[in-house]
Amino acid sequence: MTITLLVVVTALALLSFVTLQKVVAPAFDKLELDHARTDLVRAQRAIQNDLDNLSAITGDWGLWDDAYDYVTGEYPYFEESNLVRPTLSNLDLNLLAVYDADASIVWGRVEHADAILGIESLQVLDPGTETAEYLITHTELDAHTDGLIGTALGPMLISSWPVTRSDGTGPIAGTMIMGQLLDQDRRDSLRQRTEVQLSWQTIDTDTIVEPYFAVSLNMPGSSSIRHETTTNTINSTGLLVDLFNEPLVILQVASARNISALGKSTVNGALLFLAVAGVIVAVVAGFLLRRLIVLPLEGLANHITGIRKSGDLSQRLNESRNDEIGSLARQFDKLTMEVHDARMQLLDQSFKAGKADAAAEVMHNIRNAMTPLVNGLDRLAKNFTATTTLRVVQATDELGDPDCAEDRREKLVTYVQSAFAHVQATNEDAVENLAIATKQAHQVEAILADQAKHARVKPILEDFDLGKLIEEAALVIPKSDDTNIDLLMEPELNNFRVRGHRVGVLQVLGNVMLNAFESIERTDETCGNIAVSATNETIEDKQLIRLTIKDNGCGFDDAVRKEIFRRGFSSKDGHMSGLGLHWCANALATMDGGIQAESSGPGLGAEIHVLLPAA
């Protein structure tokens, strides 16, 4: 049972561990990756927002009558009023350039690291270059170009709008270009706004860009994001492309692995909780199993072992529980009770059957042996009776008479001779019949000698409860309309166990009970009582049980007491019934027991003491 419990608890612990490690912990990892991707997207969107703002400012300046007039030369004071140094810093610009309709520079300035630089410092707006052509030339009133370009000062967000009237009408007078460098200040600004640890790396000719990395700035996709996991961070990288869709910047975001750390601590906490809970459950379950199942089953097993060793089927569990084990115990008690009763009946029947067989055999053999004896004696009696009818005396008297006729005399002589021959033959027959009688008597003696061998066989002894046997023996007391008998049994009788031949003791006690009943009946009283008690007694170092059966019947005197155990004795007006106290005394002697009879005198009741070895 304990091993099974350990196996179950271990299996549950392993299942919980695997579930936490293979299901819960990876869920935290996935959540962390999603969070890292979100950080990268937020960084991309922040840059995109900056570009959108830059485009809005550029478009605002491009669609402005003052700027229009300035480009066309009709408002030269525009430069004094607007194109002053604080303008770039106020607008957070690094580049502001104004071109006329011929793509010639009207006004341009680059400010970077507190220095004022020329347009050429960027090396992307030089006349005749592809980039300059793409940014400066606009053919449509509402056309504008926004994006990222690589400059000599670093990657730059740039926006180019045509210069038109404030109401959007043309013709296009020129181009308004504004730019913001993605420098360290802007990175810090983005970090502050997004709360994401972002950085970037400009792609140069030495940078290896994997093909799947190339997506536009405003089209971030999960497939374009790459994650590298370290112990403490997840480094997510995405690619920013320039106006011409060429890779320009690798955007990097470092996300702290807080979620996986939280997940790990959660899993560890859960594992610790499960371990503690598992131990508590195992201990409690083990305790309950032991108390509710194992111990009762051990009790049942010990009970069965006890019955097997002692052979005493009268033992009972007497379980009062109402659960399955209690039901099992009660069923087992019922089974042992039935087996016990069947065994007792079988013993009783086999004892009686054995006695019946022996009695039948003895009767058959003795009666057969006695038949020739009886008939031999019968024949003897008949023959000797026949000799008494002979008239030998009369014949001899006539022979002595001288007047007897000669022929009669001859017949008388023949008669006397025949009579003597008959007497001689009768004597010979008598000898033969007596020989047969002697032989048959010897045969009877041989049959009895054979029985004597069986009489010396000791009965099988067993341990049994005295109380139950007395209840069984008391069943022999007849239900009489004339005499009402109270059987008073001490409750302590059930505590005594004796060793003996159960059926033999049962017959002894039944005989004693019946004698007590008949003794009460002979008093002509309508009611009486038979009291049964028992005590422990030691006689010559032997532990005995003294069973006392006391009645208030007619009792007996000293003369009867001396004769009461003699074979054939009866105090019942010469009427003999049952086995008799002589048989009882002999039966108990074969079990190392004994019997005593006491009475204070006629009319004063009697006590029969049955002594049996204690079990």
Binding site: M363, N368, T371, D378, R391, R408, A421, I436
Partner: protein, 164 residues
Amino acid sequence: MDTQCGDASIRVLIADDDEHILECYREAFGESEATDYLQTLNALDEELFDTVSDSESAPAFEVVACSQGNDAIDLAEKATNDGNPFDVVILDVRMPPGIDGVEAGSQIRKMDPDVEIVFVTGFSDVPRDELERRVPPPMKLHYFNKPISFMQLAEDVAGMVRAG
């Protein structure tokens, strides 16, 4: 088995496994050989002293004896088939090693419903009511416990035949 014939005699079949008892039956049912001197004595007794012998009033028996139940069945069957059935069948109950007397009596009863059947035994396992059920009818069934005076039995058998 042996037989003894006589005129108008009572035919008796006896089965018992004890040879001493069979001998007792033979003597009781008058099979002892009467000696010459006894015949002479009886004749002279009548002639010289005017006495009347009771031998003439005594019934005569024709006895057939065997020691096993199966032999008794065979003898009864043969006698019935020959048209000379037995008047009385006397059976011991216990006759090892063959069938017991009750079974033999039951089969003989099926062959001959009129025969008087007598059980003589030292002990029978079979109660009286079962005997009557297996060997009916009760008025033609008789039961004696050994030891028994076979001379008395002979008189009882003669009485059964006269009454039947």
